[in-house]
């Protein structure tokens, strides 16, 4: 088994078929990269959204408990 | 499967109208195939526009074709089988959207689904009526259009027969799509998108029949394939539609 082309230039040219071959391989690389990368980005975004939602719920819960506590305190004062 | 078969035979015995005075459980609410079929036919006859519109569409679009591609008789006669078949396909597809819609909206589809009888026969009755009011008139009209498009004389009979067989398959296959999209508000284009690819074999063998006859070959084999497709579709498509109806009703 040996490299089939004399030079790098002839490897890229592929006897005139270079544009077709490289366009095909380029498109494949593009599509495969998009396939592999989109879920990673989406997962990151989802996690961020969920975390934000969790923080909001936590804040709401804390606000509710402090409000209840202050009410109780007010009743005691009365 | 076994128990279903028993129920079917029971429901067939309990013909509507004869059950009066019989015990509670035998109350015949299950419409038999004939009742279903006749009801659909009555409904179709009362909505005449549903019958006429696909036909008008078929004729109008085909009349447009020579305006688009030119009036040369030779070119038209070469394209005639394909054009007529594609238009028949579109006309069937467009009329199919409303196949289950009315019944879904007024709740009678739900009532049918509640019957202990499988949905196979109600679907078959509906598709049969749909074919009778769209496919058969299209086939009957096709010689006229063949004449307008300069179709060769030996192509008329195969065109008619292939349309009769093929539109039945189209109605059956399209029913699956209609059942899948019945719960959606505007299914028009989606229905075309999901059903068109499934129409491919019917289209190929439908035009193939006519082309073979025009080329002077026997068109028996192509008709046989169309018949085989119809047989498979008649066996499977109502089952798939029944499943799709249950899915849509759950929505």
């Amino acid at each position: 088994m040996q490299f089939q082309f004399d030079s790098l230039a002839s490897f890229f040219a592929m006897d005139g078929h270079g544009p077709y071959v490289w366009a095909s391989y380029g498109m494949v690389v593009l599509v495969l990269v998009v396939l592999a990368v989109t879920p990673v980005f989406r997962q990151r975004k989802l996690r961020r959204e969920l975390q934000q939602q969790l923080r909001q719920e936590e804040a709401r819960r804390r606000a509710a408990t402090t409000r209840a506590a202050s009410q109780r305190a007010a009743e005691v004062v009365e | 499967m076994g128990s279903e078969a028993v129920e079917v035979s029971l429901s067939k015995k309990a013909q509507p109208g004869k059950a009066r005075g019989v015990a509670l459980a035998a109350y015949a609410r299950v419409p038999g195939f004939y009742t279903l079929f006749r009801t659909e036919l009555v409904l179709a006859a009362r909505r005449r526009s549903d019958i006429v519109n696909p036909l008008l569409f078929f004729v109008t679009v085909l009349a447009m074709m020579p305006l688009g591609i030119g009036p040369e008789p030779e070119m038209l006669s070469r394209m005639a089988p394909g054009l007529i078949w594609v238009m028949a396909l579109l006309a069937t597809l467009l009329s199919q959207e409303s196949l289950f819609r009315g019944d879904y909206e007024d709740g009678s589809l739900e009532q049918l689904a509640l019957q202990p009888q499988p949905l196979y026969f109600p679907v078959l009755a509906k598709v049969l009526v749909h074919w009778l009011v769209t496919g058969v008139p299209l086939a009957l009209l096709s010689p006229l259009l063949g004449m307008m498009l300069n179709l060769g004389a030996e192509g008329y009979w195969p065109l008619f027969v292939s349309l009769v067989l093929g539109t039945a398959s189209l109605s059956l296959i399209g029913a699956v799509g209609a059942a899948l999209t019945v719960a959606l508000r505007r299914p028009g284009l989606l229905l075309a998108l999901i059903i068109m690819p499934l129409y491919v074999p019917v289209l190929i063998f439908g035009t193939g029949t006519v082309q073979a006859a025009l080329d002077g070959y026997s068109f028996g084999p192509q008709l046989a394939v169309l018949g085989a497709i119809l047989a498979v579709a008649a066996a499977l498509a109502p089952l798939a539609s029944a499943g799709a109806i249950r899915i849509s009703l759950e929505n």
Binding site: S24, P39, L46 | I194, I247
Partner: protein, 251 residues
């Protein structure tokens, strides 16, 4: 309780936790096989005496076409499992498989068209295989469109699973009929790929690429499935814990 493993397999949570261990292995193996195959196929495999160097597109065209078809069956089978055993996970897999399959079908179509230019002198030829691929692409698009059309997720799952199943019944028929149609209209002259006559020195890189594509498919399918699980199960306790645990305390 021998079925427990089966139902645990259907649990999205179980899959999410287990699959994180598989991912690096799958991804690493896929990428290394693919890079070996690409270098081998582009640089070291001998030139084809008839087609010249343009044949090197085979090393991506054929694996993509393989996976496009296999992917449809993977999608349909997981949909069927979801319909029959009501497994949440299998519907997620089905939905994740649809865009991946469509992308691979697109690759097969694109590379086929580009390959056609130096071979036939034109980008698009209604070659039997390419036409079948195109119809397969439409089938994928139909499943994707239908699954997205329902506002209620479960209905979309079931409806598109049923459509995918109907498609699997049709695919062999479509392939056969397109094949027949092609031989009718233009007798086979030069086929892009003829597996029987391929030399071993060209064949081994092809096998490597096919294996690489399969692994890549598995890897990407897992990635997409995991993302969709996270999206769907956002309400559940375990996702909240997972997200909360990995959250840097920013607030």
């Amino acid at each position: 309780m021998s079925w427990q493993w089966f139902h645990r397999l259907g649990s999205p949570r179980w899959f999410y936790q287990k699959s994180s261990a598989w991912l690096p292995w799958l991804g690493g193996a896929a990428l290394s096989l693919l890079s070996v195959g690409v270098v081998w196929g582009l640089g070291f495999a001998p030139e084809d005496f008839k087609q010249g160097n343009s044949y090197r597109i085979i090393y991506i065209h054929v694996p993509a076409a393989f996976l496009a078809l296999a992917g449809y069956y993977i999608m349909a089978i997981s949909g069927a499992i979801g319909l029959i055993w009501k497994m949440k996970l299998s519907f997620v897999v089905m939905r994740a498989a649809a865009p991946i399959g469509a992308a691979l079908t697109f690759i097969a179509l694109f590379t086929g068209a580009v390959w056609g230019k130096p071979t036939w002198g034109t980008y698009w030829v209604w070659d039997a295989r390419i036409t079948s691929m195109l119809i397969l692409f439409f089938l994928y698009l139909g499943v994707m469109a239908l699954s997205g059309a329902f506002s209620r997720e479960q209905s979309g799952d079931k409806a598109s699973a049923l459509l995918a199943l109907v498609g699997t019944v049709n695919i062999p028929i479509i392939y056969k009929s397109v094949d027949w149609w092609f031989t009718l209209h233009q007798p086979a002259t030069l086929k892009l790929t003829e597996a029987s006559t391929i030399d071993p020195s060209m064949f081994y890189p092809l096998i490597t690429m096919i294996a690489g594509f399969y692994l890549f498919y598995a890897w990407v399918l897992t990635l997409h499935t995991r993302t969709m699980i996270l999206q769907r199960e956002g309400r559940t306790q375990w996702v909240r814990e997972l997200v909360g645990a990995s959250a840097p305390a920013k607030a």
